[in-house]
């Protein structure tokens, strides 16, 4: 996959938490490179730093040490508001706990990221309805999250992650709260997006899943990259 554009790069990134006297080294100097169009999986035991890494990849969090580049630009140089705009535009998040806003309907949840990019209401609702159809929830737009099953909520979350047509989708254990069958539906959605050219980064505990879909797998242990496995697909 050489010659591909670098979308996100973490260089010698560390994230430390101070808990009283102790320092928790959630990440301890890792290098991650994500190229355009790749399906990247992050694996590792619980507490190894996968979620921490994802948040840094998505520029939701700032590293204690090291540098993060988005499109080869050092994100520490961006202002808070520029970074938020860039994140909203380039990156879509999917979480294990779905993380939909309970006071908003499915349609409104999906439209939310577009609001922060300044899209007009009619534009937003039109796009939201298209995305609802895409995740097979065309008739559920006016339902609130608590009226939807876990799998349906996660599909709404996928639709939301696509609202601004981001280049990169970050999915932190998207199937973690779902049964195997529903999980497979979710992953197949991600695989579809990948085929359409999106860059996917997924945290998973399931080696089979990682094996099956990813171009690259980062194995984390104790805040460090233990190994990287690459695969020639197709």
């Amino acid at each position: 996959m050489s010659g591909k554009k670098e979308v996100i790069q973490l260089k010698k990134v560390a994230k430390h938490y101070h808990l009283g006297e102790n320092i928790v080294r959630a990440l301890d100097g890792i290098d991650i490179l994500i190229n355009e169009g790749e399906f990247v999986s992050i694996m590792g035991p619980s507490g190894s730093g996968k979620s921490t890494a994802m948040n840094l990849v998505g520029s939701l969090d700032a590293p204690t040490h090291g540098k993060i580049f988005l499109d080869k630009k050092d994100i520490s140089k961006f202002s808070e508001s520029d970074l938020a705009q860039l994140r909203g535009k380039k990156i879509g998040f999917i979480f294990q706990q779905f993380n939909l806003i309970n006071n908003l309907t499915a349609r409104e949840n999906i439209a939310l990221p577009m609001m922060f990019q300044g899209a007009s209401e009619s534009e937003r609702l039109k796009k939201a309805d298209e995305l609802l159809k895409m995740v097979d929830l065309g008739d559920r737009g006016s339902h609130y999250p608590n009226q939807l099953s876990g799998g349906q909520q996660q599909r709404v979350a996928i639709a939301r992650s696509l609202a601004n047509d981001p280049e990169v989708i970050l999915a932190d254990e998207p199937t973690g709260n779902l049964d195997t069958k529903t999980g497979q539906i979710i992953v197949s959605f991600l695989e579809n997006l990948h085929k359409k050219g999106k860059t996917i980064v997924m945290v998973t505990h399931d080696p089979a899943l990682a094996q099956k879909y990813s171009d690259v797998v980062y194995w984390l242990r104790d805040g460090k990259v233990e190994k990287i496995t690459k695969k020639r697909r197709k």
């Binding site: 979620s51 948040n55 998505g58 939701l60 969090d61 808070e80 508001s81 938020a84 705009q85 994140r87 909203g88 535009k89 998040f93 979480f95 294990q96 706990q97 993380n99 939909l100 806003i101 309970n102 006071n103 908003l104 409104e108 939310l112 990221p113 609001m115 922060f116 990019q117 300044g118 209401e121 939301r160 609202a163 601004n164």
Partner: protein, 405 residues
């Protein structure tokens, strides 16, 4: 972008519980009190104005005795006389000085008897016109009384609407007896909103004199000015000349020269003390209300930490979060204020109607629109101001801490 923040704020307000609305009680009470108080104050002024029977604010009235809220002429004092009238006529800037006599008479109609008040129409044509104009008298039925009419009278609106205890309405063309003498009613006045004028009988001066023999005694002088700007100066000049003709010292006047504005001033002074006290209470409750909003917003920020994290993850800037919470707090203030405006207006409506009917006048209370708008804007601003600190807290919320499992 603004409209969208409003949308999110409204969405969140819809999901708020009873506790939130209770915290708005402070703003609600404060605004209710302010609106009710100002409405009552204004209504009272209008009522007093109507009660004076002078709708034009540019007329000066002179009466014997001190300031007197009862029917004119009921005070016990040396009446005004022709010398006083001539003196007033001689004052600079006085265009017309018209004498008025008010007399209490027996009025008979439909075999019933009531006690009524009659005033005289000036003999002079020009003065008669000024008289109609100064009191703003219009005819509802029949015609005006002319200075040349003899056994004819004009009656107040209450006769036409059967509000006088005569069993049936009096109409133009009917005959009534005043102090046992028969008079033809030539016309009836439009509603004036004044107890006196709505129950009045107007008749030519000589006839009224025949009935009650007041001779040169004058109950009241109506003064119409050339230049109404100089009303205060003219009032002082009139007082000066009357002190001379009536031979009294300054401070010991046995007469009263009043402008409607001055009379209202007296009412205002009485109101002011009460107003200050109530406004302080209103301010305290608005202050308590603001603390309530700080409180409920802080709680709300805590409860919605996760939503804030999610919004940041999908691209919300700190300023978006800040604005959303600020507007939400402002809307809370606005809702409290709106409820207060509605409730306060209701109180002032019934208050004014009550006072007016107690005093026998009729006033249509009106909503003070600029005041209402200002109150609503201020309510929003108070709410938003109370929301600043919670909104900053919300904006600073670190997203990763909350969106993790």
């Amino acid at each position: 972008m603004r409209a969208d923040h409003f949308f999110l704020s409204l969405k969140n307000l819809k999901h708020r519980g009873l506790r939130t609305w209770l915290t708005l009680l402070g703003i609600f009470i404060g605004v209710t009190v302010v609106i009710a108080l100002i409405g009552l104050g204004n209504g009272l002024k209008l009522t007093v104005e109507a009660q004076f029977g002078v709708s034009s604010l540019e007329v000066i009235t002179v009466q014997a005795g001190g300031l007197n809220f009862g029917p004119p002429g009921s005070g016990v004092s040396i009446p005004l006389d022709m010398d006083d009238l001539e003196a007033v006529k001689g004052v600079n800037n006085v265009d017309y000085a018209i004498r008025r006599n008010l007399e209490t008479l027996k009025l008979e109609y439909n075999d019933r008897l009531v006690i009524g008040t009659a005033i005289d129409l000036p003999e002079d044509k020009e003065e008669a016109d000024v008289f109609y104009e100064a009191l703003d008298l219009e005819i509802e039925q029949g015609r005006k009384l002319k200075e040349s009419d003899t056994n004819k009278i004009l009656l107040g609106n209450n006769f036409l609407t059967n509000k006088v205890d005569l069993g049936k309405p009096v109409e133009a063309g009917d005959n009534v007896k005043l102090n046992n003498k028969s008079f033809e009613v030539v016309g009836l006045l439009e509603k004036q909103g004044s107890f006196i004028l709505d129950n009045i009988a107007i008749m030519p001066r000589t006839k009224l004199d025949d009935l009650s023999d007041f001779g040169d005694e004058i109950d009241m002088i109506i003064v119409v000015l050339k230049d109404t700007e100089l009303i205060e100066e003219t009032k002082e000049d009139i007082e000066k000349v009357l002190r001379k003709t009536r031979d009294v010292d300054e401070g010991e006047e046995d007469f009263d020269v009043s402008t409607p504005a001055a009379a209202l001033e007296t009412v205002n002074q009485v109101l002011t003390g009460v107003q200050i006290f109530i406004v302080i209470i209103a301010l305290i409750s608005v202050f308590v209300g603001a603390i309530g909003i700080i409180n409920t917003m802080t709680t709300s920020v805590m409860e919605r930490r996760k939503d804030i994290g999610i919004m940041k993850a999908v691209g919300a800037r700190n300023s978006d979060i800040f604005l959303q919470f600020l507007i939400e707090a402002g809307l809370l203030g606005l809702i409290g204020g709106l409820a207060g405006v509605v409730f306060g207006s209701i109180i002032s409506y019934f208050g004014v109607v009550g006072i007016a009917s107690f005093l026998g006048t009729e006033v249509s209370p009106s909503l003070d629109i600029p005041l209402t708008l200002i109150t609503l804007v201020v309510s929003f601003i108070i709410g938003a101001a109370a929301g600043i600190i919670p909104a900053i807290k919300a904006a600073k919320q670190n997203p990763v801490e909350v969106i993790r499992g």
